[in-house]
Symmetry: C2
Subunit: 335 residues, 2 copies
């Protein structure tokens, strides 16, 4: 099991990335890591060289680089080399905390799509409140700006495979994000997607779900177009961040009483923050490609890197991508 | 100034509605209220009959009635009579806490659209965190399931008029909800809408805004298609509700320590809840019609009714709808 790591991606690279890899080595000593980036910088944080290779490169993709151009022009950037390694069979998966758009482009143009999957989607496991172990897989979170109904059905299949193989849910409930729960509701795209999802026999489609019920765990897999998914994810994040900030401000405004109250509630408030933090489930997968291409937040720390490596490990161990390849190739034989 | 009130709409009708009207009478003794519904039921809660007329009807629209059918078949329902009163010039605006879909249908088919406005949108003033007096007007929140770029430009004009005339913001900043802030970002609809909004000289278009920045007050007016708007609103509401619930559960789990902490933070937690509550800005306006048609939550209490009447009062006093009629009619003369 070999994971190509873009050691230069993210705000805290390469420190947070390499420290995270060191933590992951403890969990999974059998993983071979190939780290792409500035060797001298990376070496500062390497404490265990076993099963670890560093491939030196000075070039990297910046967070504000135009994605497709960057991938085409910066041919020796750490992210591009990591993607090439997967393409050439030298690695089985890519990890990066860098420019999301560039990683999507590298995934599509270098690693490549699974045959018959038209539009790979960006998928994360988001938290279910009140169930710390729970979560739901949502896609597309923004790999595409426009999606056809047929893409949403493929997301249902992709998400269902992931929930079953990687998260161990035997019969994942697949919901279609819509503007009401009734069958007749929706835009032109969701109405048609509803029909097609009902006909898709390989998944357990439970019908329409509404955005207000997502965090309550209304479904195990939620499918939507990339534009709406992006807006919903950012709405959830923005609301959660604003509310945590508001809580802090409100407490501070109470002076000594507030400080004392916060002290007494320290454990409760920390538990709350932990429950909203979904990095324990790993990063965002660009799903539908020939290998796992996984991204964590740019501002990520070593722990989130560790969780994402664990996620990639499970994806490789269960061979979820290989099973998808078989499913979608057989699909085309039926037709 | 005459307001037609659907006294039978909402979970707590007619009690909460009539009690709210009684509160509003104290604020604005000059408003003439016409209440539609079961006279005997309504009378139980009337404490001041001045400037108040009750029009009796036994029929009402249920929350699960199919909107368009209900409007067409239940010709003497309280909501339908209220809409007819506006159409016939017997009232200047409608208030309801009933079935949203039915109110949209009553607005479109009975009250009617302003000339040249293609698709009226549902608009609410949502909260800006850290600024209790602040807020942003967002539309369409779900009156339409599919919107063309041209509709989004009309929403920019509608929202801008509202923010200026009703909320007193001299040059409202209008943002387009998109999946990134760069000009080049977006779906087919938002890319085209961006172009058209840039050309629209009557508004102060500030470009793309992202869902995660809405509650921070990134714009005074946010325009989006009804499908995305509905999903974003429900995401914000769902996240806020889940987080308040999580906070409560986390505190309760701490036993006596939690109770004591919560007691010390009582004021802070209440302030937080108040800041998220945007009912102080009034209800949701179906905007683009020939008269104010305004809706509050079905589970609303008397205070929210009072705030919504205040909002309708300001809309009528400033004649925002009349000014919109002039703007859109002149628009067509130019062409």
């Amino acid at each position: 099991m070999r994971i190509a790591v873009d050691a230069m991606g993210g705000d805290n690279a390469p420190k947070a990335i390499v420290e995270g890899v060191m933590l992951a080595q403890q969990d999974f000593p059998e993983i071979e890591f190939i780290l792409y980036g500035k060797e001298a910088e990376i070496k500062k944080y390497v404490t265990n060289e076993k099963n670890l290779t560093i491939v030196h490169t000075d070039e990297k993709i910046a967070s504000d680089d135009e994605p497709v151009k960057a991938i085409r022009r910066k041919k020796t950037a750490s992210m591009v080399l990591a993607a090439q390694a997967v393409k050439n069979g030298e690695a089985d998966a890519i990890f990066s905390a860098g420019n999301t758009g560039a990683l999507l482009a590298a995934g599509l143009f270098i690693v490549g799509r699974i045959k018959n999957i038209e539009r790979p989607g960006l998928m994360s496991t988001l938290p279910v409140i009140g169930n710390p172990e729970g979560g739901f897989d949502m896609l597309d979170l923004g790999a595409n700006a426009d999606n056809k109904p047929e893409h949403l059905v493929q997301y249902g299949v992709l998400g269902s495979f992931y929930a079953q193989k990687v998260r161990g849910i035997s019969t994942p409930k697949v919901g279609l994000l819509n503007n009401g729960t009734e069958e007749t509701k929706g835009s032109e795209v969701t109405k048609k997607a509803f029909e097609l999802l009902t006909e898709e026999k390989s998944i357990n489609f439970i019908g329409n779900v509404e955005a207000r019920d997502l965090l309550s765990g209304v479904a195990d897999v939620v499918v939507t177009d990339g534009f709406t998914g992006n807006a919903v994810l950012k709405s959830i994040e923005g609301t959660a961040l604003n509310m945590m900030g508001l809580l802090k401000t409100s407490i501070l405004a109470e002076g000594v009483k507030g400080k004392l109250g916060a002290l007494l509630l320290k454990k409760a408030l920390k538990g709350m923050k932990n429950e909203m933090d979904y990095s324990k489930h790993g990063g965002a997968v660009l799903f539908g490609l020939k290998a796992p291409v996984v991204k964590t937040h740019g501002a990520t720390g070593p722990e989130a890197v560790r969780y994402t490596i664990r996620q990639i490990h499970t994806m490789l161990e269960t061979n979820v991508v290989g099973q998808l390849v078989t499913h979608f190739e057989e699909d085309s034989k039926d037709e």
